[in-house]
């Protein structure tokens, strides 16, 4: 029992296992609700809610009609996905006694977080989804826009990684001579009790939703909670998937995400075939590409995407407050620019919705998707190998020179 508690709360879970479960759950959520695990659509609606609160007339804004801005965030299943994720992550952080107010030593991070957050929020909504709806849960819907988005995100991340390496951007760490003392540990451990209390209240709320027949809200709250628990315990970071490959030749997150998408695609095609559901297809247009590049750049600047920032904020990483604010500002600005600044006419209008199931049939769709994921996996391994080969060469040169 003690070892089980230790494994669940004291250690982080294997990202492969976490993303395989997340892939399965998102396919199941689609089967139950015909919607996918997504967050930025709700961020846009939150922006709309805020504008309404300040008395701005948004009745003519096309984008808000498109994302169905209705009711409040508490009466929307997508809203409960978001709050469920926050609460699930917070619960796990508290239960593992890992909450701490973490203030960046480098003050420039706040500006980087806000600016990166705005760019990422804007880009994600321009492409009609972030790393979830246009990536992790977009590929298993066989919507071709997610393929474009992945390539574009990779390109944006590449430039983001270059920026991150610059001296003026990353700043100087506080390297001091000799040993320093670590922080004092508090004797009283109260965080797990607070976590437990939150869990009990939240379970009560889910029971209330189901008991009163609000099944969609209940499912949103339940799956949101599960996704929040999973991303926190697995420390799932979509930002790092591409970025760390470029920065330090680290590939584990990219490979785990690809594996998760593969399992999710297989389960989703089965669900679609059995229940005759219509896959969720988004428009593939120049906006998908531009949005993806901006998104990739923005998440690296901000050190986290719209999903990753959620559990980081719950861990007490204060940096992610400006990132969250930036995400909502960026998404809301896109909603404004959509029709008021002609974004739709220039970048979106020429596009079409393309779904692989319609164009090459279900068997072709799953085979093509698995082949594409296979290529991504191979590229990831190649990128890692190349990094370490270059490193060995650089070291060799250094040793000969000295």
């Amino acid at each position: 029992m003690k070892t089980m508690i230790h494994t669940i709360f004291q250690r982080y879970w294997n990202p492969y296992v976490v993303l395989l479960i997340a892939g399965l759950l998102s396919a199941l959520y689609f089967g139950l609700t015909s919607t996918v695990w997504a967050v930025t659509g709700e961020f846009t609606r939150l922006g709309g809610d805020l504008l309404l609160l300040f008395g701005v007339d948004i009745s003519g804004w096309e984008y808000f009609d498109m994302v169905h801005l209705k009711g409040t965030t508490w009466s929307r299943p997508d809203g409960w996905i978001v709050w469920g994720m926050f609460i699930g992550a917070l619960m796990m952080v508290l239960l593992s006694n890992n909450f701490k107010i973490r203030l960046p030593q480098q003050k420039r991070r706040y500006v980087q977080g806000l600016v990166g957050g705005i760019i990422a929020g804007f880009g994600a909504r321009l492409a009609l989804g972030c790393n979830l709806a246009a990536f992790f849960t977009g590929v298993p819907q066989f919507s071709i826009h997610s393929w474009i988005f992945i390539v574009a995100t990779g390109i944006g991340t590449f430039f983001g990684a270059k920026l991150t390496k610059m001296r003026w951007w990353k700043g100087r760490p506080s390297l001091t001579r000799g040993a320093a003392k670590p922080s004092k540990i508090k004797k009283n451990v109260i965080q797990p009790y607070i976590g437990g209390a939150i869990a009990i209240v939240y379970i009560g709320l889910m029971i209330y939703f189901f008991a009163t027949g609000q099944h969609l809200l209940g499912l949103g709250a339940l799956f949101g909670l599960a996704f929040g628990i999973l991303i926190e315990r697995g420390q799932i970071c979509f930002t790092s998937a591409f970025r760390d490959l470029f920065l330090v030749g680290r590939s584990v997150m990219a490979k785990a995400i690809i594996a998760g998408m593969a399992i999710s695609s297989i389960v989703t095609i089965i669900v679609i075939s059995i229940y005759g559901l219509t896959p969720i297809t988004q428009i593939a247009a120049p906006s998908t590409f531009v949005g993806g590049v901006l998104f990739g750049l923005g998440i690296v600047m901000a050190s986290g995407c719209e999903t990753g920032m959620m559990y980081r904020l719950m861990e007490g990483q204060v940096l992610f407050l400006p990132v969250f604010a930036g995400n909502i500002i960026g998404a809301t600005f896109l909603a404004y620019a959509w029709d008021h600044l002609g974004v739709y006419n220039v970048l979106v209008k020429s596009g079409t919705k393309v779904n692989l199931i319609d164009t090459i049939g279900p068997v072709g769709a799953i085979l093509a998707t698995l082949a594409m994921l296979g290529v991504l996996y191979a590229l990831t391994i190649y990128g890692e190998k190349r990094y370490h080969r270059n490193l060995t060469m650089k070291r060799g040169v250094k040793e000969h020179a000295s």
Binding site: R102, I185, G249
Partner: protein, 79 residues
């Protein structure tokens, strides 16, 4: 506990979020002389995993097991 060598340098990364702990750690190690000992204090949960894994992958050795100290971790790595 094994006899501890006093750290030559300390990298205090408390408050910094990923990827900066990994970048800073690898850079600090690169700038030090062979055999010198670096102490890393970090509290970014992502770094609990990626700092030790990447330090090992980049060919550095640990002087001792990582120490969990409340909400932070201490790493002792030889340059």
């Amino acid at each position: 506990m094994q006899a501890k060598k006093e750290a030559d340098f300390t990298l205090d990364l408390r408050g910094e979020s990923c990827p900066y702990p990994v970048i800073y750690t690898l850079e600090a190690l690169e700038g030090m002389n062979n055999g010198e000992l670096l102490q890393v204090i970090t509290d970014c949960p992502g770094s609990f995993r990626n700092v030790p894994e990447e330090a090992l992958k980049h060919g550095y050795k640990f002087a001792q097991e990582p120490v969990k100290n409340g909400q932070e971790y201490l790493f002792y790595i030889y340059a």
